[in-house]
Symmetry: C2
Subunit: 382 residues, 2 copies
């Protein structure tokens, strides 16, 4: 089997189209010259549209996690308090990062269950300085209520850090309306470039707060990044090929239209859910009226009759990679991404293969067999 | 002028050969799959040879500066002391990073002058826990005595952090003999891949010390990187295209032969120095018997008769990019890299152009005109 022919249907890194791969293969340019500055400025502008914000965008040569650390480490002093909202793996990451920089109050729900807004409100009432939440919790396929958390943060004059790594560009994120002070995006997710690059949007309030933060990280110092950005540069050598890739990926997104792109993601996830429902496969996350299923990844319970490892292996043998569960969810759930520059055919063939394998193992009944692909098709062809 | 046709003769980022650019354009693979693990393990092994160490190699998706911060941030507690040796811009960077993590004792010399070994010894005598030094100080074109600093560190049982970003792969670095505990390499320098990737070697002593360091950075947490490395992975999503690039760049280096590669760098710098001498251009750095001129970049004083900006502009108009001085050296010096996959023809045409421009401005005399290219040629053709 040729790994390069595999259709990657995981929630990032997503497949990178040849046009972006070619852009990345351009000769390296001088990162202190005007050609770089032009590209840098253009990327920042196009990203602001993608983020749906008027805030300033800064660009980091590091993966999404580096953006999460930049946000927390530049906004919190050791004696200050950050509330970290946890209902999945990436919420836990915010908690772990928070613990390196200040007092951390984790507000934890069971993975895949709604976040506890009352507990967030109570922690903010107690004087917390910031709250950090993952918008699209990829590990469980759930979209958390950024609007509600933003409201609470404003009410208590706390800063709101939102991990939008797997939502920005793939689902609506009216950040300024929600009152997000720092939002983070990863290159290998909805924008569908290769991994290794993160963008963060920073509000005026957040920049003001940074003036009082004594000991931010060095490589991820957002004040240093802002100062260099004014000259069209980064403080340390940027990963030039990833800038080429991001620029091309942004052109593609803008050509498609940002609203159309977000709609395509929503339709893709709806198609997977419709197929699952028709095949009798249960969703894993349990959203309430304030949260909802993710637009960019769908997490389902592994049906009885097959083990996840067997399912993954048989899918891969047919050229399609799907994702399993992480940590304690390993073996219990499987996940299909509807993220990046995927097209209907990619989702349809994934569902077709899935349905055939599950049917062969008796995990989809004879009477349901075929219903999955029909349901997905009718959503995608609308 | 087409920027893509420009010959980049700065001390990094260096030109990337098409073979590496093509490798980078391969489709993205799953970073949790065995194909990635195989590449990851191979890169670590090839890098250990390049570093000239038996220590473990860890791979960071970040530029060289991220490697410097990883070294300092994982080895120093806030109440501990690090000596930072400064005789150029990158020594200052170690000082600035040190100040974020612990008590920092900078041992400063004027830029381009030898480091003060007595002051380093005194600071270690006073009980410093670590010493950090830039091996090849690119800003001034000087190679600092890593062997001497290593001896002092061992004598006082302190850890030795060496920035080998622009030396490893281009100049001999017997790290284990010198007693280097953490060495750092950047992808866009001697190995000639694109920027955005750093490798660090870590000694057993350094790993032991990390157990006692309470609050290392998160994205750059070397304990987390080591734990994942045992499984052929990185703790956070790696920049897959940069791994493809590094792998190909390492193949190229090993095909050339590591000794031959280092010799080529030394010969390249010797050719630039010979040309400068023949043209009556003065070297900028002032090495003593324990330090020496860099093998990977040559820093010269701008001769009278021309301003640096004019020289740079005229070189660029003819398709060659050279580097100037940084910070207070701006306008005073110029620098030519002999770094990466350069070939004799690249250096010769650079010197030929330089000599012509300087002669046209009266900065090289009629009688000396032609001596530069002849001197360089005789070194390169040996």
């Amino acid at each position: 089997m040729n790994i390069e022919d595999t259709l990657i249907m995981i929630p990032g890194p997503v497949p990178v189209v040849p046009r972006i791969l070619r852009a990345m293969a351009k000769p390296v340019i001088n990162h202190r010259g005007y050609e770089f500055a032009e590209m840098f400025d253009e990327c920042r502008e196009l990203l602001a549209d993608l983020f749906q914000t008027k805030n300033e965008i800064l660009l980091l040569s590091g993966s999404g996690t580096s953006g999460m650390e930049a946000a927390v480490g530049n906004l919190i002093n050791p004696d200050e308090t950050i509330v970290t909202v946890v209902n999945g793996k990436f919420g836990e990451r915010f908690r772990d990062i928070g613990m390196r920089y200040g007092n951390t109050v984790p507000v934890e729900s069971e993975w895949g269950y709604p976040i506890d807004l009352d507990a967030v409100a109570a922690a903010l009432e107690d004087g917390a300085d910031a709250v950090a939440m993952v918008h699209n919790e990829t590990s469980v396929g759930m979209l958390n209520p950024a609007d509600e958390v933003g409201k609470l943060a404003r009410k208590h004059d706390a800063l709101f850090i939102m991990d939008g790594i797997t939502s920005i560009g793939g689902t609506p994120t009216p950040l300024d309306e929600w009152g997000v002070d720092v939002a983070i995006m990863g290159s290998q997710k909805c924008i569908a470039a290769p991994p290794g690059f993160a963008a963060v949007s920073v509000s005026k309030r957040a920049f003001q707060k940074m003036e009082d933060v004594k000991n931010p990280p060095y490589y991820l110092d957002l004040k240093a990044h802002r100062k260099s950005a004014d000259k069209g540069q980064t403080p340390y050598t940027p990963s030039i090929p990833l800038f080429f890739a991001i620029q091309e990926a942004l052109y593609i997104a803008h050509e498609e239209g940002l609203d159309a792109r977000r709609q395509r993601h929503a339709t893709g996830a709806a198609a997977v859910r419709a197929a699952a429902d028709a095949m009798g496969i249960a969703m894993f996350p349990q959203p309430d009226e304030k949260s909802r299923y993710s637009d960019t990844v769908t997490a389902m319970k592994v049906p009885s009759g097959i083990l996840f490892d067997q399912l993954k292996k048989e899918m891969l043998a047919r050229g399609i990679l799907i994702a399993g569960g992480q940590a304690h969810l390993k073996g219990n759930i499987f996940r299909i991404g509807s993220m990046g520059n995927f097209r209907s055919k990619d989702l349809l063939i994934t569902i077709q293969m899935l349905e055939s394998i599950l049917h062969a193992h008796g995990a989809v009944s004879d009477s349901d067999f075929g219903a999955g692909i029909r349901a997905a098709g009718s959503v995608l062809m609308q």
